[in-house]
Structures are given as C-alpha cells and as structure tokens.
C-alpha cells in the first residue's frame, strides 16, 4: 500500500511517500495511524495528535473509522488551509 504525506506531516516524517506492508490487525485508518506512530520518533512527532490528521483513501476524504480494505493510496495531511 502506498502512503502519501503532505505539509507538516510530510516534513515531520521526512518522506513524501512510501510503500508499506500492513501487519495483521491493522484494518482501519485509526489502526494505521497508531501503528505508524510507533515506527520511530519522526512518525511519533507527525502523529502526536492522530485525531487531527485528515486522511484520504484513493483520493477521497474518509473518517478514521474507515476500513483500509481496497486502499491503494492512503494520504495523511493536516487540516486544509487553501483558498
């Protein structure tokens, strides 16, 4: 599965995107955020407050309860500030 990061999430993690293999038990967006948070100090810094992270699966906004089944690209980013 491809993960894409934007704005300060990208900066803190230090990557724009990466391919990951999800371990068993990581089934929802919420599971993914908590699993990522444990992968190192950079991830922990980006995901200090997972509840504020916005997530898109296959370029569609989703809630944190959304299952990851069928996800090819999962994007993590801060609340939007365009316009």
């Amino acid at each position: 599965m491809k993960l894409a990061y934007f704005a300060w999430v990208r900066e803190r993690i230090g990557l724009a995107e990466e391919e990951v293999q999800l371990p068993a038990g990581v089934e929802t967006v919420d599971d993914l955020l908590h699993w990522l948070k444990g992968r190192g100090a950079n991830y922990d810094s980006a995901l200090q407050a997972p509840e504020i992270i916005r997530v898109a699966i296959n370029q569609e906004h989703v809630d944190h309860s959304e299952p990851l089944a069928g996800a090819k690209e999962v994007a993590l980013f801060p609340p939007m500030t365009g316009g």
Partner: protein, 169 residues
C-alpha cells in the same frame, strides 16, 4: 464512512448543472479573460467573482507557498463546483487555485459563478469558497521577509463554521 460534498444537501433543482471549469496551476490567473468567458451570451444576468489574495501580514510576509495533493485537489474542487451547480441554477462556474510561491498582492484563488439572477450567483460563489477552504487539499506555509521559512498556516475554526452553515440551509 465516505464523506462527500453531497452531505451539504441538494435542493433538487431540475436544470442541467453547468459544467465547471476547474484548474490548479502555478502561473497568474487572468481574471479578465476568465470573467469575459463566463459573461458571454445573452442569458447571464449576474456574475459574482471572488478573488483571494496573499496578504503581507503587516509587512512580515515575503510570500506564501501553496502545497497541494495533485489529482485529489482538482477532483475535490470539481466535486464542490458540481455540488454548487446542482444547488443553484448556474449558467457557468469556474474555480482556479494556484500553487507554489505567491507574493503578497497576488491572487491565490479565483471563483466565478454566472446565473440569470444575482442571488444564486452570490450564494453559489460564497458556498464554493467555504467548501474549497475546508475540503480541497491545499496547505499554505509562510516565508518571512527576514529570509526564514515561517510556519504552516493553521486552519481556522471560522472556516469550518462557515462550511457547516450550508448543511443547515
């Protein structure tokens, strides 16, 4: 649960929705050309445009840098524009968002809604901006006049509130 701009509700008007013009680009927006294109023909009675500009924040700001999620950004704006064209009887709708480095005084975003009567154009343009601010994946970071990269601009609760109000209409 998937979230859609459709959540804002539809008033179920019977007209064929206007096909939106949506672009994400780095160069300046030619607002005169965009406006002229929308007002052509004898059906348009009112055209409302909104242009959002990079402020200098009292001289502190050298530029804003706009990052976006390519692909998703265009699709989200298109969805919002289609939603507006479904809720109001628009004859034309345009939404253009710039990315990259933008100097104070330059435009960041331009939306325009043409309709037979003015009220629909005003409401649709305001709706478009409220949803664009909260749903289109763009992020601003500041570059300061002292040469440092300032912080990422924080999202505003007032923007969420502005978008939420359309759910209650």
């Amino acid at each position: 649960m998937k979230q859609h701009p459709d959540d804002a509700g539809s008033q179920g008007s019977a007209h064929a929705p206007a096909r939106p013009t949506v672009r994400v680009e780095t160069g300046r927006i030619d607002m005169a050309a965009e406006t002229a294109r929308l007002s052509g023909g004898g059906a348009v009675g009112g055209l409302v445009t909104f242009s959002g500009y990079c402020r200098d924040e009292g001289g502190r700001l050298a530029a804003l840098e706009l990052e976006h999620y390519p692909g998703m950004a265009e699709r989200e704006i298109e969805k919002i524009a289609l939603e507006a064209a479904g809720r109001w009887p628009l004859l034309a709708v345009t939404a253009i968002h710039r990315t990259g480095m933008i100097s104070p005084g330059e435009e960041i975003v331009f939306v325009a809604c043409a309709s037979e009567h003015r009220q629909a154009a005003f409401e649709a343009a305001s709706f478009l901006m409220d949803f664009l601010k909260t749903r289109a994946p763009f992020w601003k970071r500041e570059h300061l006049v002292d040469g440092t990269a300032g912080g990422w601009v924080e999202s505003k609760d007032t923007d969420d509130a502005a978008a939420d109000k359309w759910h209650r209409l």
